[in-house]
Every structure is written in structure tokens, then in C-alpha cells.
């Protein structure tokens, strides 16, 4: 746990740096003075998450693939990482400084990864994918280092991904309707900034999107219960299939 705290501390150190950077930037004077409101995912859920298996998550549509790089720099298709396990896919860029954007998404993934220790069922059935849409700065090496910082002692299957170029990530973003707008004015030689809607996708083993989370509803309690709901659904389908086969054998 100490390692986890240490890694999370590093993460926050970067976050603080990012926030201070933003606070000192020329944007500061151009904005209105409204207090930021932390997303529910940062704290305790203000209601009890519905119990796994007490609700349904109807398929929304098929998940898409596309050309990506893993943190070892190997080319692969996103589609190849889907299907083996229930997957939670997050789109981020590493230097994002909107506290309710990528840092929230990463924090939730971090918390979910931490729960793998307490809920072994998740270890064999859940894969977390964190895919950057900033290939210029989020190179495989950078993603590798960042990922190791975050997941060092976690037993979760958490993979950090990027792409070769903007041309390769764009079709994936479009397929997932993940809106990302590069902020040209704020980009420089050290970092890019993007305006984007926070989206996290829950994808089942049939490669169907089963839920989509955004800033108002992304929370580890909800996410984990949704994953467990899909696991229960699979178990029930398996039981039905076995019963049907047994019945067929009996009739034969």
C-alpha cells in the first residue's frame, strides 16, 4: 500500500504542477470566477451504488478497433486487446490539467486497479486500457514510465497505450465519438492541451459497449458494480447453456 500511496503522490505532484501552470498562464485573466466543483468520482459516492446483478446494461453498439502502440512500442490493433476480458477503456492525455478530465479518469482507474487485490474476481475478468490521444508527447516510453508509476504494485491488468501519430488515433476517437479539440494557442514545445469530453467505456467480451461514463457519473463504486454485473450475466448465460446441453443429452 505504501507503494501505491507513493505512486499516487507522484501522480498528484504532477497534477499540482499542472494546476499551478494553468493558474499562472495567460488564461487566468480571461475567465470568469466560478468555483470549480470536484466530480463525484473524486470522493465517496453520495448514494449507494446499485447492487451487481440487480439491473441490466443493454448493449449500446460495437466497440471499434484501430492501430495503436503498446508501451513497449509494439504496433497492434486495439481490437486485439478487447474480448479476452471485460474492458474499461479511457481516453486521456498525460499532461491534462482539467481536474475533472483525464486526472479523474486516471484516478478512477487507479482505484479500480486497487480493488483487484480485494476482489480477485476482477483480476481474471477485468482489463483497464488507458489510451492517449497525444502521440506527440505521450510516446511509448513516456506511457511506460507513467504506467509503472501508477500500477507498480497493483495486480490489475492495466495497459497504457498510445499511437504513432494523430492520423492513427483520429479514426479511433471518431469511432468512439470521443470529441477532442487541440487547443493550438496553448500548445508549445513542452506540452499540448486539448478540449475534450471525458468519456470512459465499458466493453464486454463480445466487444459490445455496455456503458459510457462521463464526469457526472464516473465513480469506482459504479464502475466495479457494472463490471460485476457483466460477470454475473456471463455466469448466468453459462448456466443456461449448460442446462440446455444437459437437457439435450437427456432427451437424446
Amino acid at each position: 500500500m505504501n507503494d501505491l500511496v507513493c505512486n499516487l503522490a507522484k501522480f498528484y505532484t504532477r497534477l499540482i504542477g499542472s494546476l499551478l501552470f494553468l493558474a499562472l498562464s495567460p488564461y487566468a485573466g480571461a475567465q470568469n470566477s466560478n468555483e470549480i466543483r470536484l466530480a463525484p468520482g473524486w470522493g465517496q459516492l453520495s448514494f449507494t451504488a446499485p447492487k451487481p446483478g440487480t439491473y441490466e446494461l443493454p448493449p449500446i453498439r460495437a466497440a471499434a478497433g484501430g492501430s495503436i502502440l503498446n508501451s513497449q512500442g509494439q504496433s497492434l490493433d486495439l481490437n486485439d486487446l478487447l474480448g479476452e476480458k471485460i474492458t474499461v477503456l479511457s481516453f486521456i492525455y498525460r499532461t491534462c490539467d482539467d481536474v475533472n478530465g483525464c486526472p479523474l479518469s486516471t484516478m478512477v482507474s487507479y482505484k479500480v486497479a486497487d480493488r483487484v487485490k480485494k476482489q480477485p474476481l476482477l483480476k481474471d475478468n477485468l482489463r483497464l486500457l488507458t489510451l492517449s490521444f497525444d502521440p506527440q508527447f505521450d510516446t511509448p516510453d513516456v506511457m511506460q514510465e507513467w504506467g509503472e508509476d501508477l500500477k507498480q504494485s497493483s495486480q490489475a491488468d492495466w495497459q497504457f497505450l498510445t499511437s504513432k501519430s494523430e492520423q492513427e488515433i483520429r479514426p479511433i476517437l471518431k469511432a468512439y465519438q470521443q470529441s477532442v479539440i487541440a487547443d493550438d494557442a496553448a500548445s508549445n514545445n513542452e506540452r499540448n492541451t486539448f478540449s475534450h469530453i471525458l468519456r470512459v467505456y465499458l466493453i464486454d467480451r463480445e466487444k459490445q459497449i455496455r456503458n459510457i461514463y462521463n464526469v457526472s457519473f464516473l465513480h469506482p463504486d459504479i464502475l466495479v458494480n457494472d463490471v460485476l454485473t457483466l460477470i454475473q450475466e456471463e455466469a448466468q448465460a453459462e448456466q443456461r447453456s449448460t442446462a440446455k446441453a444437459n437437457l439435450a443429452d437427456t432427451v437424446d
Binding site: L4, A9, Q31, N34, R37, Q44, A49, D98, Q177, S179
Partner: protein, 467 residues
């Protein structure tokens, strides 16, 4: 909110982080029409356009339903003008519309044809195009009729129905789609025959539907109830003289579990509760609605025990004269509620600082008839339109069809400009939604003065904020 307990992170470091967050707070603001989904991308600053979903009228222009785009930015050389009109072919009983959460698409429905028109508003926000038409709504939904409210969820749209294809009465459902129009599920409203696990707290479980709103922080979703196809397509005067027809109005509102989509509690709310508007402030766990036939403001609220309740909290005008309250709009600080009354054409402002004791503090006649309002997040601009339903709008000279733009100085409405939809041969003006170049990373095609902070394109950000 206890971050430390749940994360186990270094406490001192977190305190610095939180302090930094609040230091950074001045860098971010969120603004929007105040009646939209908290799931939706927000506009900061001055809106550039108002999209008006418009009913075609016989013997007027091309007679078709259309999406009318009006330039509402005072800095624009086209300010106050209709800059685009996109007809969709035929009349469908055009009614309400709503954006997807990324505001890339505007969904608009036809209550009679059951068609849903999905407009692309992000490629060129000044000139929307028709992206897709859903023409199998009744079939895929299992018999739902009258697509009414289009409410953004994360990557999805919740569409409320008004009726069904079995008896064209008021029993109906919500229908869930992906942002690109893939059908996901149908959620029928509970009835006495099938409560679907909901608690019936009063006399009614009519299964009717109308509007939907959500409070994600409380995992709560609310629906109201109107009337079925047979009534909403009937001549208004004829219906008023038909005692049996007048019995076929909704008398309920429902609290749902937002995440599971299951109904949990049915409230009695006699007289057709229509639009629902939920409070924005983080500790304000309540929503308002108004009943069309009984002319009351209702409050749905979470009590100290965490139980959801409903209570009539104020009259609107003289209920005995049936002023017919229609659209409502809550201010972003939750202190004010605009209530429009169709019959006398008045906009009424209620002080709802105490949500249990609303007080009307202002009223103004906007026209001979009045339905919809959209206000800016800062409450300084309010736009009004006239049409309710094709067969319910007034006749002859009383059938004024307009879009009117006002500024609100806190004590009175000041008319800035108006568009006569009959003179422009457009039709009957109904639902309004705001658009802006900056949502899509675009610069305005005209110069704006830096002093006009709210008119600067860079002030409009694409960002979804927590509710």
C-alpha cells in the same frame, strides 16, 4: 466529500492538491441554458445562435417543419436575422429537441409522424445539416408513440414518449438510444397493472409520460405526464368540450433510479405536470414542475430522511381561469423560476429562494400566446417563442408566431429584437436551443471587441462539468 478516506493518499499532499484546485477554480467557469442536461458540454459566454424547431403551417412558405437558425450575437453583423432555414419535408408536429452530450448533434422529434431528425450542428454551427432520420421509432421501441423530450446522458439520449400505438392514449415509455441513433432499450412507465417495482404513494399509477430530467449526484431521474396522441392531435376547443377527453390527462410524476432505469416512487400530481427543472447547486436536491390544468408549481424534493417527496408549493396566476402554464426555466443560482402561461401570453418570474414558498415578483405579456423560454446561464438574456401544438395554438389574429429576444436586468424584461415567423413565412416557432462556434474550436467569422468578454470566441470551451 471525503477524499482521504477513500483514496488513502498522503493527507498533506492532498490538502495541497485541493487548495490548488480551488486556486485554479477561477480559471474555469461553466455556462449554458439552465434547463439542459448536466451531462452536456457547456457554453461559456455569449451564445452565437438559437436553433428554433419550427412547425410548418399550411399555406405558409414551404409548409414544412424546419430548423431555423437565428444569429443572436450582438457583435455579429447578422445579429437578429434568420441566417438559415432547413426544411425536413412535410409536417410532423414538430415539437421538442435536444443535443447529444457532446453537442455535436441536435435531435428533434415529430409528435405525429414519430420521426426523429438528427441534425449535425458541429460541422458548421451556422448552417446545420440533416445527418440522419429515424423513421422506425414506434417499431423498435415496441409501440411507443410521440417522441417528445430528448435528454442527453453520457453518450446516449433518453427520448420520452407521449403515447402508444395500441390505443393512442397516454400510457407510454422512455426510449434510450446511442448518440448516433442505435436503439438501446425501452423503459415503460409503471401502471396499476404493472408497477414494475415502484411504490405507488397516492391514488394514481397512470403510466403517462412527458418530460425527463436527472440529478446524477443523487442517482435520481424524474418524469412527468401529459396526454396521449388522441388528445394532443385534437382541436383544443373541441377537446375542452369533451368531458371524456379531459379525463385523459396525466396525474403523476415518477422518481426513477437513474442508473438502473427502474421506477421507484410514483407521486400524485393532478392536472398534467409538464416541464421538469432540477436545481443546479450541489446541495439543492429538488426539482420543480408545473401542472398545466391545475396551474400549480410542484416541488419534488429529498427530505431529511433521504426520502423523495412531492408537494404543491404555489399557484400560478388564478388557477380558476386556467392560464395554462407551459414551459418553465430555473436560473443557474436556483433563486428564480420563469413560468410561461400560454392563454394570457405572460412570462412570470417567481422568487424560489425558498423552494417551498415561491413568490411571483414580476410578469409581462410577451404576446397573444406564449410557450417556450430559453435563458442564458447568467440569466441576462431570455428568448421566447409562441407555439404549443398545431391544433392547440390560437386562431386568426391571436395566432401570433414569433421569436423574441429580451434582456433581463433583474427587475424587468427589455425587448431587443423579434422575428415574426409568419411574416418570414417560416411557420410556428417552438423549441429553442443555443449554439456557439467555440464549442467546436472555431473562431467567429467576424471581429469581436476584447472588452466584450462574453463575446470572445475563446471563452466558449468544450467541457463537461460535474453536476
Amino acid at each position: 466529500m471525503n477524499l482521504f478516506k477513500t483514496t488513502g493518499v498522503n493527507r498533506g499532499l492532498m490538502q495541497i492538491a485541493i487548495a490548488s484546485l480551488f486556486f485554479a477554480a477561477s480559471l474555469t467557469s461553466h455556462a449554458d441554458e439552465t434547463c439542459m442536461s448536466p451531462y452536456m458540454a457547456k457554453i461559456v459566454g455569449q451564445e452565437d445562435f438559437v436553433y428554433v424547431w419550427t412547425l410548418g403551417q399550411e399555406n405558409l412558405g414551404d409548409e414544412q417543419d424546419k430548423l431555423v437558425t437565428i444569429d443572436v450575437n450582438p457583435a455579429s453583423p447578422k445579429y437578429g436575422k434568420v441566417i438559415n432555414s432547413l426544411s425536413v419535408g412535410g409536417r410532423n408536429e414538430a415539437h421538442h429537441s435536444g443535443f447529444t452530450d457532446d453537442r455535436h448533434y441536435l435531435w428533434a422529434g415529430g409528435l405525429d409522424s414519430n420521426k426523429i431528425f438528427i441534425f449535425d450542428v458541429h460541422t458548421d454551427p451556422a448552417k446545420p445539416t440533416l445527418y440522419k432520420t429515424i423513421d422506425n421509432f414506434v417499431k423498435v421501441s415496441g409501440g411507443v408513440v410521440g417522441p417528445h423530450t430528448f435528454y442527453a446522458l453520457a453518450g446516449k439520449i433518453m427520448v420520452t414518449g407521449l403515447s402508444n400505438n395500441a390505443d393512442h392514449g397516454g400510457r407510454t415509455a422512455m426510449v434510450e438510444y446511442s448518440n448516433t441513433g442505435d436503439y438501446i432499450a425501452t423503459h415503460w412507465h409503471p401502471t396499476d397493472q404493472d408497477l414494475r417495482g415502484a411504490e405507488k404513494s397516492g391514488k394514481f399509477a397512470d403510466g403517462y409520460g412527458y418530460d425527463v430530467r436527472a440529478l446524477p449526484r443523487r442517482n435520481a431521474m424524474f418524469t412527468s405526464s401529459f396526454t396521449g396522441w388522441t388528445n394532443y392531435m385534437m382541436d383544443f376547443g373541441t377537446m375542452l368540450q369533451d368531458p371524456e377527453a379531459m379525463k385523459r390527462f396525466g396525474n403523476t410524476a415518477i422518481k426513477w433510479n437513474l442508473h438502473t432505469r427502474k421506477p421507484e416512487k410514483i407521486f400524485d400530481m393532478p392536472g398534467a405536470p409538464l416541464e421538469i427543472r432540477c436545481a443546479w447547486q450541489p446541495n439543492h436536491n429538488y426539482c420543480f414542475t408545473t401542472t398545466a390544468l391545475t396551474s400549480k408549481i410542484w416541488l419534488m424534493y429529498e427530505d431529511e430522511q433521504g426520502e423523495w417527496q412531492a408537494k404543491a408549493v404555489a399557484d400560478i396566476g388564478d388557477p380558476s381561469k386556467v392560464p395554462l402554464p407551459v414551459d418553465i426555466s430555473i436560473t443557474s443560482d436556483d433563486k428564480g423560476l420563469w413560468v410561461q402561461t400560454f392563454m394570457d401570453g405572460k412570462a412570470r418570474y417567481f422568487d424560489v429562494s425558498d423552494p417551498f414558498n415561491p413568490k411571483q415578483t414580476y410578469e409581462k405579456e410577451i404576446g397573444s400566446q406564449l410557450n417556450m423560454i430559453s435563458q442564458s446561464w447568467d440569466g441576462k438574456r431570455a428568448y421566447f417563442t409562441s407555439s404549443l401544438l398545431n391544433n392547440w395554438d390560437k386562431k386568426g389574429d391571436q395566432d401570433q408566431q414569433f421569436f423574441k429576444s429580451y434582456t433581463w436586468d433583474g427587475s424587468k424584461l427589455n425587448l431587443e429584437f423579434e422575428v415574426d415567423f409568419k411574416a418570414e413565412k417560416l411557420g410556428s416557432a417552438h423549441q429553442m436551443r443555443f449554439g456557439a462556434y467555440g464549442l467546436y474550436g472555431m473562431k467567429r467569422p467576424y471581429e469581436t471587441k476584447q472588452a466584450e468578454v462574453n463575446s470572445n470566441a475563446s471563452d466558449t470551451l468544450l467541457a463537461s462539468k460535474p453536476e
